[in-house]
C-alpha cells in the first residue's frame, strides 16, 4: 500500500529537529534510515501526524573514539559501520553483527540509531548494545541524558526514550584487545529476521575466563543479558564442560514468546544451541 498523509519536516540541525518534534506532542515520528518505519507507514500500521526526517542532519553521522568508547552518531549507516576500520579494530563484534543486519540495500540506508530506537526484539544491534554494556545519548527539549542499555529497552518496539527525545549517539566501550567474540544467529534465510541470535564476548587468560558477555536477540521482548551463564564461564573457565553448562543455563534464563515463526520451546532450545556455538567460536578467536 501507500503511506497515509503526514506533514513532512527535513531539518538540517538537531535543534530544528527537536523543535519540530516538540510541536506535535508525541504524534510525530522520527525518520532515520526508514527501513522499518517506511514499511510500517506503507502498511498503515503507523499513522503519525508528521515525520521529522533526520537524513539532512550531517552532524549526526560519525564514528570516533573518545574516553575508551567508540561513539557513533545516530545516523551512521550500517554500511559505513560494516567498512569502518575503527569499528573493525575496536568493536569487531559490532562489525560481525552488521553482516547479519538485513541485506546490502537495507544497510546502505539503515542506521545504528534507528535500529536501536526501533527496538525490534530480533534485531542485532540491541543485542550488541546489551552485550557490550553500551549506552545511548538522548536529546530533548530539557537537555541531554545518557541511558544505559539495561535501562533503554522496555518491551517489544518500546524504549525509555520520551516522545519528544531523539537518540543522537550510541556509545560502546572499546572491546579489550584480544577479546574473542561471535554473533550466531538462526533465521530461515540469511538476512531474514532472526528467530534467535546470541552475541558472545570472552576475554581469556589461558583456560581462565576473566570476562564473559552473552546477550540474546529474538529470545524475549527485549535483549536479555545471560549473566548467570556468564558467571559459569568466569568461575569454571573455558573448557567444554563449562561451555555446555553455560548453554544449558542460557535455556533457563530466557523466557521467549511463541509466534508464527517459532514456538517458545524451539526458541529456548535455539538459545542453548547458539550460546554453545557462539562461545566456541568466540573462544577460538580469543587471544590471551
Amino acid at each position: 500500500m501507500k503511506p497515509p498523509k503526514f506533514e513532512y519536516h527535513a531539518p538540517t540541525s538537531l535543534d530544528e529537529a527537536l523543535d519540530a518534534l516538540g510541536r506535535y506532542g508525541g504524534d510525530a515520528k522520527v525518520l532515520a534510515g526508514g527501513q522499518s518505519l517506511m514499511p510500517l507507514l506503507n502498511f498503515r500500521l503507523a499513522r503519525p501526524a508528521a515525520l521529522v526526517d533526520l537524513n539532512r542532519i550531517a552532524s549526526l553521522a560519525y564514528i570516533r573514539e573518545q574516553d575508551g568508547q567508540v561513539r557513533l552518531g545516530a545516523m551512521t549507516r550500517q554500511r559505513t559501520i560494516e567498512f569502518s576500520p575503527l569499528v573493525a579494530q575496536r568493536l569487531p563484534l559490532l562489525k560481525e553483527a552488521t553482516r547479519w543486519v538485513g541485506h546490502l540495500p537495507i544497510r546502505t540506508r539503515g542506521t545504528i540509531g534507528g535500529s536501536i530506537a526501533h527496538a525490534d526484539p530480533s534485531a542485532e544491534y540491541p543485542a550488541v548494545l546489551a552485550a557490550l554494556e553500551g549506552e545511548v545519548v538522548a536529546r530533548g527539549a530539557r537537555g541531554e541524558r545518557v541511558i544505559r542499555a539495561a535501562d533503554l529497552f522496555q518491551t517489544y518496539l518500546t524504549t525509555s526514550l520520551a516522545p519528544d527525545e531523539i537518540l543522537t549517539e550510541v556509545r560502546l566501550p572499546a572491546m579489550p584487545a584480544g577479546a574473542g567474540y561471535a554473533l550466531e544467529e538462526f533465521s530461515r534465510r540469511h538476512g531474514d529476521f532472526a528467530i534467535v541470535g546470541i552475541a558472545a564476548v570472552v576475554v581469556r587468560a589461558g583456560q581462565r575466563c576473566t570476562m564473559a558477555r552473552l546477550a540474546t536477540a529474538g529470545a524475549g521482548p527485549v535483549p536479555v543479558r545471560l549473566r548467570a551463564a556468564e558467571e559459569i564461564l568466569e568461575t569454571e573457565g573455558l573448557g567444554e564442560a563449562a561451555i555446555d553448562a553455560a548453554a544449558r543455563r542460557a535455556t533457563e534464563l530466557v523466557d521467549p514468546d511463541a509466534d508464527i515463526h517459532a514456538s517458545a520451546d524451539y526458541r529456548r532450545h535455539l538459545a542453548g544451541v547458539l550460546t554453545k556455538r557462539a562461545l566456541t567460536r568466540a573462544i577460538g578467536v580469543a587471544r590471551g
Binding site: 501507500k2 506533514e7 526508514g34 517506511m38 514499511p39 541485506h103 546502505t108 540506508r109 540469511h190
Partner: protein
C-alpha cells in the same frame, strides 16, 4: 494541494524536476512522474527488492524511501545501464547465463549486483548468494543469477 513539494534530482545523468505529495514513494515518483518504468514495484515493504536502484551510488530500495528524500540526489536505474546501444556487461552476463526468466526481479537484481560487485570485486559463490539474497526471484532458482554475477565479476573489475 498546498502540501505539494518540488523534487529536483538527477536520474541516469539527466536532470529532472517534479511535484508530488511528501508521502509519495520514490519508486512511484520514478515510474509515474518520470515515466521510467524499468524499476518495478513488488511488495512495497522492502522485502522483495524489485524496486532496488542506486541512490548516490549505493543500492537502496525505492519503495521504502520518499521521493522528497531524493531532492538533490543522483539516482541510477536499469534504464541507465546500456551504453551506445549495447547492453552493460552485467546485463550481458544475465542473458548469457539465464539469469532471468520472467524479468520482474531483474532490474532490482542488476542494481543490487552492481553495488555488491563494486564493494566486493572478487566474491566467492557463498558471498554472491548472500549478496543477491536481497532480491527475491521466483523463476530461476537463483543458480543462473549466481552464475551470471560470477561471470560478470572479472569483466566489471577489469573495466574499473
Amino acid at each position: 494541494m498546498a502540501d505539494m513539494v518540488t523534487v529536483r534530482l538527477k536520474v541516469n545523468g539527466v536532470e529532472h524536476e517534479g511535484r508530488c505529495e511528501p508521502r509519495k514513494l520514490l519508486v512511484d515518483f520514478i515510474r509515474e512522474d518520470l515515466g521510467l518504468t524499468g524499476t518495478h514495484v513488488g511488495c512495497e515493504h522492502g522485502i522483495c527488492g524489485a524496486c532496488t536502484i542506486l541512490f548516490n551510488g549505493e543500492a537502496a530500495r525505492s519503495c521504502i524511501m520518499l521521493a522528497v528524500q531524493a531532492e538533490g540526489a543522483e539516482l541510477a536505474t536499469v534504464e541507465g545501464l546500456m551504453r551506445d546501444g549495447k547492453l552493460h556487461p552485467l546485463q550481458e552476463a544475465f542473458r548469457e547465463h539465464h539469469g532471468l526468466q520472467c524479468g520482474f526481479c531483474t532490474p532490482g537484481m542488476l542494481m543490487t549486483a552492481l553495488d555488491f560487485l563494486r564493494t566486493n570485486p572478487t566474491p566467492s559463490e557463498r558471498e554472491i548468494r548472500e549478496g543477491i539474497s536481497a532480491v527475491l526471484c521466483r523463476c530461476t532458482g537463483y543458480q543462473g543469477i549466481v552464475n551470471a554475477v560470477r561471470a560478470a565479476a572479472p569483466v566489471l573489475a577489469a573495466g574499473r
